[in-house]
């Protein structure tokens, strides 16, 4: 049984630079097994944070990327056919609850509301997961915890969590780190010089200024790391920024020009 869960263990320390007191808060929340909700724009380090915390707490981490077509069975499990008939296959949530892992539901608003409610009995004092098709009630392992992430700015008009879901979680706000921290992260992750990392972060800040003025979302730290990785491979800085920063976030020719110009003001 333990092999199933061992594959989910985080063995090497993921690089994570704390921005504020989020590590301590999370540790405290985990100690009482409070379900956590991480909010913040895409690519600002939510997933990395969970990996880091799983490593720090030495707990396995099961990540589920949520999407619109995901159903409750995809989380809980289902019967599959094999040579002897059908057999039950635990879904990721059931595995986590059975073996005591941190279950991380990424972009949880993407899942439909009838899917999200299956986590309800696991996220209050009951801490159970009923498998109705199998007729089993899993009592969650003491180490089990649910973490969800979502991006409140993104399509929030149409998709939102139900109040009953929201109120089962403690919330941590994430945002892009401040200039120096972010440059340090970019430099560390990619190996570019701190000078180039600094410039990349400055470009991202220009783009973040345009959020709501033609851009839906600013340039994320993740994109900067992509750009930095290209630069390390001796790609010209202009080209790297074009490929990794500007082209992915906009189709608007004016916006593209503006961002290309912003790149040129930092790399000449």
């Amino acid at each position: 049984m333990s092999e199933i869960i061992d594959q989910y263990r985080v063995t090497t320390e993921p690089y994570y630079l704390p921005v504020a007191d989020e590590v301590e808060l999370y540790e405290a929340a985990y100690s009482v097994r409070m379900p956590m909700m991480l909010k913040g724009p895409t690519g600002c380090g939510k997933t990395r944070f969970v990996e880091y915390m799983a490593w720090k707490l030495k707990k396995p981490l099961i990540t589920v990327a949520c999407n619109e077509d995901m159903t409750a069975s995809d989380l809980v499990g289902r019967y599959l056919l094999d040579a002897n008939g059908t057999n039950w296959q635990d879904g990721p949530l059931a595995v986590a609850a059975r073996h005591g892992a941190i279950c991380y539901l990424d972009e949880v608003v993407e899942a439909r509301q009838d899917t999200t409610v299956v986590i309800h009995p696991l996220t209050d004092n009951r801490r159970v997961l009923p498998l109705e098709k199998k007729g089993e009630l899993i009592n969650a392992h003491p180490d089990f915890q649910v973490v969800i992430s979502y991006n409140p700015g993104y399509q929030s008009l149409m998709k939102d969590l139900k109040q009953s879901t929201k109120q089962r979680f403690g919330g941590l706000d994430f945002d892009y780190p401040n200039h120096d921290t972010e440059s340090e992260i970019v430099a560390h992750e990619t190996g570019v010089s701190s000078d180039i990392a600094d410039k990349l972060v400055s470009i991202a800040e220009r783009a973040r200024n345009l959020k709501g003025h033609g851009l839906d979302e600013g340039i994320s730290t993740r994109m900067l790391i992509y750009a930095g990785s290209l630069i390390v491979k001796n790609v010209d800085a202009h080209a790297a920024c074009r490929v990794a920063l500007v082209r992915p976030i906009t189709d608007d020719p004016d916006m593209r020009d503006a961002l290309d110009a912003a790149v040129s003001t930092f790399f000449n």
């Binding site: 069975s73 019967y79 056919l81 040579a83 709501g212 033609g214």
Partner: protein, 775 residues
């Protein structure tokens, strides 16, 4: 080494004797400020200005003001100042130049930087070209303007006015002298500090959360003359808060707002009995005010302990402030509020003791009255005179207590209804009998208090086949809707710039619509299959899945049989239930400008005919699929009159009435698209659907009679589309203008447009487009 004025004799030769005298007066100061080179520039400037022959005032002004400017931001600027002033001389009067010089020290003080000052000079240069009449009134108000605006803000404010009133000199003067409404509105927008409007919602929620009731708040504008209005006050049951606060030391402006709102709310909540100012002198009233403030605050702090910190951080009085009674009042106020504040003054200690002794009687204002009277009596020992005008509390959040003294006339019932407007007009939907029985008020007009509405036509008794509506009715006028417009040149929204007027669409012959259906029978038949497939079908089972939600028992048994027979089983034994629902609202927005009356090239029918046909087919299609949809149209006649027609609304069935309205559709005037899109988006936003689609059908680019710059309305439309997108409305444009590629993608975005090359094919294309977009 001393520099004597006499060394520069040759430069001074032409000056008037009075100017020379003035120069001699300022000389000692000037020598301290300027280097020899600077002095040279200074005097050369004076000489050059004299050479302009615009009178002595100009020269004197230069002599007087330049040293102050140089003192503020360095002498290097003197050359620039002289050049600017000289270049202005060919374009404006001596008086204006004089004013430029006279206000230069103000600008220098506020800007505090040579480079900024240079920018300011450039800005003046531009402004004199654009709004020559506006410069003088603006310079008159420069102090006020700089008191509230950054240079950027000033620039935007001024250029806005210059653009808005380019030809209307009178308005220009009004605008720049800050006496027109728009001027103040734009100024408000550009003002620094935190604006009340920005935090009002936050403060409202805060107050509602604390006291579980609503308080009505209004911004009060700082009056420029006497700064009254910068203090909060309560009047006619409204809390008036300043329209902008700057940060107060380390305390953020929002926090100041919070403190002020909480303090005024404390007054409203804790003052329960009327109070009388009878037989009190102003000094007693001032002291009572301080105690009363402390009393209501103490009571609020008992409920919300954190308020003490909020308020205490805004008190700055210290024990060494003892010049006036005002100082003592401030110290007393602080001592009563802030337990950490140490003040050994006997009067203040007495106040503290009295207040502490009264801790269990704070429910009544009477205690404030008693302590106040006693303390003000004791204050006479200090031999400090009281001045009611200057000896006031300085903590920025404290109101002027006028509420407290006017409380006698306070009406609790009114206070609870304050802010809730009573409906001005009651509309009743009635039956025929009820309508026949009501007594009509002959003299009532459109503003009648009560109006009866009947769903059907009402005919008079002596029925001649003419209803009341036909004989006496008139077309209802909708209230105007104001929308901002984006001016790309000044990068600023022009507040409430365009006015949308809704007009009632005229009915046409419904026969026309039926003919269209007959004419396009073939296309409709072809569409039928497509549309049937789009209709929502409720829950559907998808079988033969490897990873469904449930086991499909038939498939499972089949697989088991195959297994027992030693055959390869089919692993797809699961099924899944999928709910097929459609959740989209569609708004069709038609451009009804004059150009739609043009004949389609080589054809007998007009663009409008074609648009109507296309709309009818589309409406049939959407109606069949069952999505909620609306059909609206617009045209415009300048920014004051954007006409908007509603042919079909979302909640209206697609029956004879919308069809007749569509038949009566006409094309006229111009295309101010941005405002129309904003108005249409306003209707779409009210829809509850998850997806909202706006289809704009137009035959040309945005244009209007009062706009000459073709870019202006394009940029505005783009902005309107972006705003709509932010509230979840997807805008798609179908353009009949074959040259539209150049601009339409810029306005609506790379993917959200379609240019119809063969206009004749529009009627068949439109429903297909709808089907494609919403599938």
């Amino acid at each position: 080494m001393s520099i004597s004025l006499d060394d520069y004799k040759e430069l001074l030769e032409n000056l008037e004797p009075e100017s020379v005298a003035l120069l001699q007066n300022v000389w000692p100061e000037a020598v301290k400020i300027f280097s020899p080179r600077g002095l040279d520039n200074y005097l050369k400037g004076a000489s050059a200005l004299n050479g302009l022959g615009r009178g002595r005032g100009l020269v004197d002004c230069w002599i007087d003001e330049t040293p102050i400017v140089a003192k503020e931001i360095g002498e290097d600027i003197v050359g620039d100042l002289a050049t600017t002033v000289l270049s202005l001389s060919s374009r404006t009067s001596g008086a204006v130049i004089e004013l430029v010089l006279a206000t230069a020290p103000t600008a220098a003080k506020r800007l505090g930087d040579a480079e900024l000052f240079q920018n300011y000079l450039q800005f003046l240069n531009v402004l004199i070209a654009q709004a020559p009449r506006g410069v003088r009134p603006m310079l008159d108000k420069l102090d006020v303007l700089f008191g509230q605006l950054t240079l950027g803000g000033l620039r935007r404010w001024a250029l806005w006015g210059a653009h808005a009133h380019r030809t209307d000199y009178e308005e220009q003067i009004n605008y720049f002298s800050l006496s027109s409404k728009e001027s103040l509105a734009v100024l408000q927008k550009e003002r620094k500090g935190t604006l009340f409007v920005d935090v009002q919602r936050r403060i409202n929620m805060y107050m509602r959360a604390l006291w579980a009731r609503d308080f009505f708040m209004k911004p009060t504008s700082g009056d420029f003359e006497n700064r009254e209005g910068y203090k909060p006050f309560i009047e006619s049951y409204f809390i008036h808060l300043p329209d902008a606060y700057d940060n107060y030391g380390d305390v953020s402006a929002t926090e100041v707002y919070r403190a002020a709102a909480a303090h005024t709310a404390a007054h409203l909540v804790e003052t329960k009995q009327p109070i009388s100012a009878e037989s009190l002198n102003p000094m007693q009233m001032a002291v009572i005010s301080v105690i009363e403030d402390a009393r209501v605050e103490e009571l609020s702090i008992r409920r919300f302990p954190g308020l003490r910190k909020t308020w205490a951080s805004l008190h700055t009085a210290t024990p060494d402030m003892n010049a006036s009674m005002g100082d003592y009042l401030n110290r007393l106020a602080r001592a009563l509020l802030d337990p950490d504040y140490q003040d050994d003054d006997s009067w203040i200690t007495e106040g503290k003791m009295l207040f502490a002794a009264a801790q269990d009687q704070l429910d009544s204002y009477q205690i404030s009255w008693d302590i106040g009277v006693q303390l003000s009596h004791r204050f006479k020992d200090k031999q400090i005179p009281f001045n009611a005008r200057t000896d006031i509390q300085t903590a920025p959040y404290r109101d002027d207590n006028r509420y407290f003294w006017e409380f006698e006339e306070f009406d609790f019932n009114k206070s609870l209804t304050a802010g809730y407007d009573e409906p001005k007009q009651l509309r009743k939907h009635v039956s025929v009998m009820e309508l026949a029985n009501v007594v009509e008020v002959e003299s009532a007009g459109d503003d009648a208090q009560e109006i009866c509405v009947m769903d059907t036509e009402f005919f008079p008794y002596e029925d001649m086949g003419i209803s009341y509506n036909e004989s006496e009715g008139k077309e209802p006028i909708s209230p105007p809707y104001h929308y901002s417009e984006w001016d790309y040149q000044i990068q600023l929204e022009r507040p409430d710039w365009a006015t949308v007027q809704e007009k009632r669409a005229k009915m046409g012959d419904i026969q026309l619509i039926d003919e269209i259906a007959t004419q396009y029978k073939r296309e409709i038949a072809r569409m039928k299959f497509l549309l049937d497939a789009m209709q929502p079908q409720g829950v559907r089972r998808i079988r033969k899945l490897e990873d469904g939600d449930e086991i499909d028992i038939n498939a499972a048994i089949r697989s088991m049989i195959e297994m027992r027979m030693g055959m390869q089983p089919d692993p797809r034994i699961m099924m899944r239930s999928v709910r097929k629902i459609r959740d989209i609202s569609v708004m069709v927005l038609l451009d009804l400008s004059e150009s739609t009356n043009d004949k389609v090239a080589g054809q007998e029918f007009t663009v409008l005919d074609l648009t109507r046909e296309a709309t009818v087919l589309l409406a049939n299609a959407i109606d069949k699929v069952g999505d909620p949809f609306a059909i609206h149209g617009f045209c415009s006649d300048g920014r004051h009159d954007v006409e908007y027609y509603r042919y079909k609304d979302f909640d209206q069935p697609y029956n004879e009435i919308p069809k007749a309205k569509l038949a009566g559709m006409t094309g006229q005037l111009s295309t101010r698209m941005g405002s129309a899109i904003r108005h249409a988006a306003h209707y779409l936003k009210l829809q509850k659907s998850a997806k909202k689609l706006m289809l704009v059908i137009t035959d040309g680019e945005p244009a209007d009679i009062d706009v000459r710059d073709p870019q202006y309305l394009r940029h505005d439309t783009k902005k309107a589309v972006e705003e709509a997108a932010r509230s979840g409305v997807i805008t798609f444009c179908m353009s009949l203008d074959p040259r539209a590629d150049q601009y339409v993608s810029r306005i609506f975005g790379e993917r959200n447009y379609m240019v119809v090359d063969h206009v004749e094919r529009l009627p068949e294309k439109l429903p297909v487009l709808y089907a494609g977009l919403t599938r």
